[in-house]
């Protein structure tokens, strides 16, 4: 039993990272109506910047701040040059989706070009220690990931419900045309969303990188898990991304330990979950059900 509990806690720690990437996806999905396939790659690139800043001598927490700022700038620039020129993505989502797939490839290749293809070791933000409770041992790193996730959720709630920018973001997500007519600079608000999503991507990457070191494919699996998380939680729900992320984290950590077949296909539970949710409850646990008149 305590072994099972151990796996669950590890799963929650991993799930916190899926939740972070998921929240970034939700922020962009709500405001632009598209899934940003390049989300994980922008996070990977920003995490490389964290790594470089750390290598250059900055303590890891400071390096993370540098990576978040750089990530936000990269997200904003990519939006400006590759997404905004394609026009209203709510009316016509396909070009933007294709553009984000293009960005996925471009950012991945750029990272290989800059940092090479060899995996590099990455320090843990919360060190190597662990909290021992009876026979259960929980890495500080996992507890840290959950704590950071909680801070991010709180920050997002404050942003969306207490600030002018947050109100504008919700307004643009609901009705970009009326928001523009009311004086909201829609493209600048969307750009802020991309920057924000990229900044939290740097955090997610910094928690992912110590597991197997950092290389250009750092976030590939994480992105799939994050897709599963928001499919489960609902594409337009921040809380859904968090709950979905934690559930996916536990599921994908616990299942392979008891079912041998899954051990060899770590992504299988995530894909099964995506298919099952889309079949039986397409709006997810917390998402808005869209009723469309035809």
């Amino acid at each position: 039993m305590s072994e099972f509990f151990q796996f669950v806690v590890i799963g929650l720690g991993n799930g916190a990272v899926y939740a972070m990437v998921g929240m970034g996806l939700v922020v962009i999905y709500r405001s632009t109506g598209v899934l940003n396939f390049s989300q994980g790659e922008i996070a990977m690139f920003s995490t490389f910047i964290v790594w470089s800043a750390h290598e250059a001598g900055l303590p890891l927490p400071l390096a993370l701040v540098v990576g978040m700022i750089a990530g936000a700038a990269i997200g904003a620039v990519l939006f400006r040059i590759a997404v905004q020129p394609l026009g209203d993505s709510k009316a016509n989502p396909l070009p933007v989706v294709i553009a984000t797939i293009g960005l996925f490839l471009a950012v991945n290749a750029s990272a290989s070009l800059v940092w090479g293809s060899e995996s590099k070791p990455f320090e843990k933000l919360f060190g190597l220690g662990a909290l021992e409770i009876g026979s259960v041992s929980i890495d500080y790193q996992k507890i840290g990931a959950l704590a950071v996730l909680a801070v991010e959720v709180l920050a997002f709630q404050l942003l969306f419900n207490r600030t002018k920018l947050g109100l504008a973001m919700r307004s643009v997500a609901s009705n970009p045309e009326s928001s523009a007519l009311a004086g909201v600079p829609v493209n600048r608000v969307l750009l802020a969303g991309w920057g924000l999503a990229a900044a939290i991507g740097a955090v997610a990457g910094t928690f992912t990188a110590p597991n197997f070191g950092i290389d250009a494919n750092l976030m590939l699996n994480t992105l799939v898990f994050a897709f599963a998380a928001i499919a489960l939680g609902g594409f337009d729900s921040l809380i859904g991304a968090v709950v979905g992320g934690l559930i996916v984290g536990v599921l994908t950590d616990v299942a392979p330990r008891y079912i041998d077949a899954i051990d060899k296909m770590p992504l299988a539970p995530a894909f099964l979950l995506i298919v099952a949710v889309l079949l039986f409850r397409p709006e997810g646990l917390f998402g808005t059900r869209r009723v469309q008149r035809v």
Partner: protein, 235 residues
């Protein structure tokens, strides 16, 4: 100098021209109506002025050229557009809609303006924490108008406020707008199919037909014009 001066304005959708070089002007504090049948280009006129739609020709507001502008810059300059079909932000509450209307403002009187428009539209105050999408058409129209006033505009573009509303509700909406513009000194450019109502509200008007202005005059002149009576006033 006119508050709004539009000269030789042309606009369309893709390759389809809708407006063919119209010119019109609105003086400060004046209420002007553009009459016209369905498809004459009334909505396109307003969308071109508020920069929702690319156009050629010149648009001068308060003497300043507004070419290649964007909707939010037009709001900053002092033009507020109430689009056809209300254009409320349905997922936001009534109060949040009004705060979005004040987005361009940096002064500290937003709260007192909120109270002011709640005074003019008491129904909105009753529903201030309700999401806009749950309100009736008339209430949403009033919300859209109050939101436009929240930016403290000098000109309001009003697109078919009567659309889809019961006659009594329409009358109430027009009465409230008339009171509000008199009180604030805001100019209005109204487009409307309901000519009787519009000519009671406006002091001057234009007649738009197939993207061109074919007539203009004071409200009384337009009301007395035989061809307009036949086309828009039902004999």
């Amino acid at each position: 100098m006119s508050l709004l001066e539009v000269t030789d304005l042309s606009a369309g959708y893709g390759m389809v021209p809708v407006l063919r070089g119209i010119s019109l002007h609105v003086e400060a504090g004046e209420a002007v109506v553009v009459l016209g049948a369905n498809g004459a280009g009334k909505t396109t006129t307003l969308r071109a002025i508020s920069a929702m739609l690319a156009s050629t020709g010149t648009i001068r507001f308060d003497g300043v050229g507004m070419q290649r502008s964007s909707p939010d810059r037009m709001v900053r300059a002092g033009i507020s557009h109430v689009p056809q079909g209300r254009g409320t932000i349905v997922d936001l509450t009534v109060e949040e809609n009004l705060m979005i209307g004040a987005y361009v403002r940096t002064d500290d009187e937003v709260e007192s303006d909120l109270a002011r428009w709640f005074g003019v539209f008491p129904r909105l105050e009753e529903r201030r924490n309700q999401v806009a999408g749950s309100m009736s058409g008339g209430e949403q129209q009033m919300l859209a108008i109050a939101r436009a006033f929240m930016s403290r505009p000098r000109l309001i573009l009003l697109d078919e406020p009567s659309l889809g509303l019961a006659p009594l509700v329409t009358r109430e909406v027009f009465d409230r707008v008339a009171e509000s513009v008199t009180e604030t000194g805001t100019a209005v450019l109204l487009v409307e199919q309901n000519a009787n109502l519009a000519l009671d509200f406006a002091t001057r008007g234009y007649v738009l037909e197939s993207g061109s202005i074919v007539g203009e005059g004071s409200a009384d002149e337009l009301r007395g014009d035989e061809s307009i009576r036949r086309a828009y006033l039902g004999g």
